[in-house]
Every structure is written in structure tokens, then in C-alpha cells.
Symmetry: C2
Subunit: 105 residues, 2 copies
């Protein structure tokens, strides 16, 4: 069994201070040891028709599913999720065991 | 400047041979040197309301944006994309320079 991924794509509401939210997320994953790695980005290349209004991607990696479950129920995550949810217009979450086909050299 | 990411989430049409398509994608990234790493997975945990019908995530990493551009225009990718597009009911693509906040220990 490989790593477990928590993948989130988001469209924020207009006027939201996105910087504050990404800083908050950075703080959150630093506080919670169960999160193995975290990276995020804002789309700069995709065509509008393929982006469907989504602008940001957030990808968290865990060593195993149990670590993800622990993260989900962590009080800091629960608290942050409330704030985050209020700022989003649309979101898709996918949680999955990852199949690594080509590893970085 | 960090790595460049190509993130895709997909809902396949009913009756599509998903295994064949993921095998084809694995073959594709193996053939094209510009792709630094590739992993994918099928959601097993997200709530239906948060998944919005999407089932699969595909995550490609490139050393730089130019490598992504080269991948996009590679004839093998162009050929595969035609086959892939015919099999999908819904898709979101996000392409972005990645900010790595927490690196694997």
C-alpha cells in the first residue's frame, strides 16, 4: 500500500483574502504531524473551459490512510475547515491511495 | 521557482474500460522523458457531495513549465488525449507552479 492523498480543488468566493487562507493552511499542516507533505498552487495555464472556474489546488500526502483519518478529526483541522468552508464557492475533494507510476529520479 | 504540476480530475463515462486508460497513461508518461513523476488514484473516502461525481485523480510533476509545454505538444500525448477525451464525462485540469510547504522528511 502506497501513500494516501487528500486532493482538494477550490473556487473561492469573490473578495476572499486567499493569502490568509493559504497561510492558515500552511500553519495547519505544520502543526499536525500526521501530514507528511503538503503543496499547493494557483492555476496559470489551463483553459477556462477545462478549469471550470476552479483556481487553486491543494495536495496533502500521508504515509497511510489512518494518518489522514487522524488529520480529518484533529481539532485544529475541524476549526480551520469551518473558516475555509465559509470562503469557498465550489470545491471538489478526492481522497485516495496513490499509485506511483513514475518516481522522481 | 519550484516544480510545475499538471493535475487532472475525471469522471469517466459509464462502461468505459478505465483500466485500459490508466495503463495507457502509465505507458505515455514512461515514454515521455519530460514527465518527472506521475501518480494517480481512485477516490475511496470522499463524501458524494464533496466528490461531485469525480472519481479519479491524475497528478503529473515536471521540473519546469517548459517541460510541461513539451509534454502537452508531444505527439504521443496528443494521440492519447484524443482517446482519453472520448472516454470522459467531466474533467477539470489545473496547471500551476507548485509551492511546497511541507516536504517529506
Amino acid at each position: 500500500m502506497g501513500e494516501f492523498k487528500h486532493f482538494v480543488i477550490v473556487k473561492f468566493k469573490e473578495g476572499v483574502a486567499v493569502d490568509e487562507l493559504t497561510k492558515g493552511m500552511e500553519k495547519l499542516v505544520t502543526e499536525i504531524g500526521a501530514v507528511k507533505s503538503f503543496e499547493w498552487g494557483q492555476d496559470i495555464e489551463s483553459l477556462d473551459v477545462l478549469r471550470q472556474g476552479f483556481t487553486h489546488a491543494f495536495l496533502m500526502t500521508f504515509n497511510k490512510k489512518e494518518d489522514f483519518v487522524a488529520f480529518q478529526s484533529h481539532p485544529n483541522h475541524v476549526e480551520f475547515s469551518t473558516k475555509f468552508s465559509a470562503a469557498i464557492e465550489n470545491i471538489v475533494l478526492l481522497d485516495f491511495p496513490s499509485t506511483l507510476v513514475k518516481a522522481p529520479a
